[in-house]
């Protein structure tokens, strides 16, 4: 039996200029045309481009559940968009030997004014189901979504939970030969995510081919039979063993977090502030390479700003475990007050009296906002390694497998 998906030398080039100005008018086009001869004379640089995908090749056999992993900007979403025929590749070729349904978002095409019943038909049709198929599965969909009572109510009156459940229910009843799924599982509460994962497992068990993009390494490990790692548009780890791929990804994250923050280019935001460095210090102000559970810690985010009068500045440090699960967020906006005026250079300091993280490695996302506008944002900015420490003052720690977060606790017997 041959592969069901064959991708050969796939590349996608984006012109960054047009991405920054998606909105153009005749006036701009005319101005541009007028400038072109001048540009030619000046021999200035061609517009900046980005290879979102470069020479990606792989083959997927029927029935495989393939995980595609990589950091933000690695090209995962572009790959899914090309495979779903939303955008065209610049080079290369894809052959699909089966009916494809792609799920890049739940509830695509839902119309708020239409009722649940009407939206099931509309959405199902948009996702590629025939009217007969939708009619046959209608009752199952309604039951799965648990919205029987509201099926003839416009969805704009639904709670957000009901809305997402209905949207996912339609998608969950697609029966294509190839299912392409983006991180739609990131929505909804934990119970719902579990239901979604369960449904995806069912789909996989019926012998369908699934392509799954995720940041959640635990989901990839438990769901996929094979995985592939992308890095800056190229295949870094070819389609193969899931555990090896996950390991490769973690190494990659580790490598990236060793880079100097000031030199990182994978950042977003207006750029009025740039994060220069991140450091961890002890109470006396000595820089620490490793932290220990229970230690008094000072996290410092060094910045430089191009403006004098930034107001309402908030800083957040998002901590995730190495499998990608969120652990905690430190934020002056939530735990304290925003900084009213800040100087051009300096550092934000966040002190923790007793580090409650269990031993292990964590990654931190750093973000700085002013008046809720993102000024600088680096995901997976640094790796924080926590060594065992005497958090409880008893000299004992929970076993590694039961790590996570350490909580202060008092036990009594009554």
């Amino acid at each position: 039996m041959g592969p069901i998906i064959r991708v050969q030398g796939l590349s996608k080039l984006y012109y960054l200029g047009s991405a920054n100005a998606p909105y153009s008018t005749f006036r701009e086009a005319i101005m541009d045309a007028a400038r072109k001869p001048l540009r030619y004379l000046r021999r200035s640089e061609p517009p900046p481009t980005l290879w979102a995908l470069k020479d990606v090749s792989f083959e997927v056999m029927p029935g495989e559940v393939v995980g595609i992993i990589g950091r933000n900007g690695a090209g995962k979403s572009t790959l899914l968009k090309v495979l779903s025929r939303i955008t065209e590749p610049t080079e290369g070729r894809v052959e699909l030997y089966g009916r494809v349904a792609s799920l890049l978002e739940v509830g695509t095409g839902f119309h708020p004014e239409l009722t649940g019943r009407e939206n099931i038909f509309l959405n199902g049709s948009i996702l590629g189901m025939s009217r007969k198929e939708i009619e046959a599965k209608f009752d199952q969909i309604v039951e799965f979504a648990e919205v029987e009572r509201f099926i003839d109510t416009p969805v704009k009156r639904y709670s957000s939970g009901m809305y997402v459940r209905l949207a996912f229910a339609v998608a969950a009843h697609l029966e294509p030969e190839i299912l392409i799924v983006d991180e739609v599982l990131a929505v909804g509460d934990a119970a719902f995510q579990k239901k979604c994962l369960g449904r995806m497992r069912d789909v996989a068990n019926t012998g369908r081919t699934v392509l799954f993009v995720s940041h959640n390494m635990a989901a990839v490990s438990s769901l996929c039979t094979k995985a592939m790692v992308l890095w800056e548009g190229k295949v870094e780890f070819p389609l193969g063993d899931v555990e090896e791929a996950v390991q490769q990804y973690l190494t990659q994250v580790h490598k990236v977090t060793k880079m100097k923050l000031a030199e990182r280019t994978d950042r977003s935001g207006s750029g009025k502030i740039r994060i220069q460095d991140f450091g961890t210090f002890d109470r006396e102000g000595n820089e620490l390479e490793y932290l220990a559970s229970g230690q008094e810690i000072d996290f410092r985010v060094y910045y430089s700003s191009t403006e004098n009068n930034l107001e309402n500045v908030s800083v957040a440090i998002g901590l995730t475990s190495h499998s990608g699960a969120f652990v905690s967020m430190l934020s002056n906006q939530i735990a304290g007050e925003t900084f009213q005026t800040i100087s051009r250079n300096g550092f934000f300091s966040c002190k923790l009296r007793k580090l409650p993280l269990a031993p292990g490695s964590y990654t931190a996302n750093l973000i700085i906002r002013s008046n809720d506008v993102i000024l600088d944002w680096i995901q997976q900015a640094v790796t924080i390694v926590v060594e065992p420490g005497d958090f409880f003052g008893t000299g004992r720690m929970p076993p590694q497998t039961h790590g996570g977060v350490l909580l202060e606790q008092d036990w009594t017997l009554n």
Partner: protein, 275 residues
Amino acid sequence: MMNTEPLVVIQPSRSWRVLSLKDIWAYRELLFFLTWRDVKVRYKQTALGAAWAILQPLFMMVIFTIFFGRLAGVGSSGIPYPLFALAGLVPWTFFSNAITQSGNSLVGSANLISKVYFPRLLVPTAAMLAGLVDFALAFVMFCVLMVYYRVVPTVQILFVPVLVLLTALFALGVGTWMSALNVKYRDVRFALPFIIQLWLFVSSVIMPSSALPWKWRRLLLLNPMSAIIEGYRSALFGLPFDWPALGIASALTIVTLAYAIYSFSRVERSFADII
């Protein structure tokens, strides 16, 4: 059993790529659902609902009758002026709404286009088709007025479906072209209402083209809507058809539609990147 031929091949398209009718046929059910959605949603949360489909041409008729029929004394080929004006306003309202709706349809469906694949041409087509429902309602009102004025139709009324098809195809051509332009140049959104207002005055809605001197009438031939609207009057009131004008209008409709589909397909592949 696995097919030996791929079901779908994705690769950079050639510049000469043309419309895949096979693809559109495969998605005909989606076309139905998109049209149905547009019809359903159009008059949601309006007090008068679908009555708007009738009120628009009706109010225009009243105003035209007062200003052009009474005050200016515009000729109307021997037909009561209100009926004469309405015979032009009903197809005109369909046409102007259809090109407005389909011209803005792609930009309005940006979310859909960046998340799911389907032939993009369905979007402006559905927007145009949804207008046909309004047209049918307005046409019923027109028939009531025909009875009121005791105008008896001739066998020529059988020609109306052909004219509706011609109007729909021309609206599709203009609307599709506008929708593609709109993705890149949002100017279309502002220019379109203005163009439609001017267009009304050169489409023989207010007065018959026979009221104009010959050198002006020749220019009107370049506007298919003028010949089409005169065609409706001929069909409805049993007047002689201007076959050469209708012939030119049909030819221009085909050219417009072909050009629209060509320019649409050319930009279609990059919609998701620039929308």
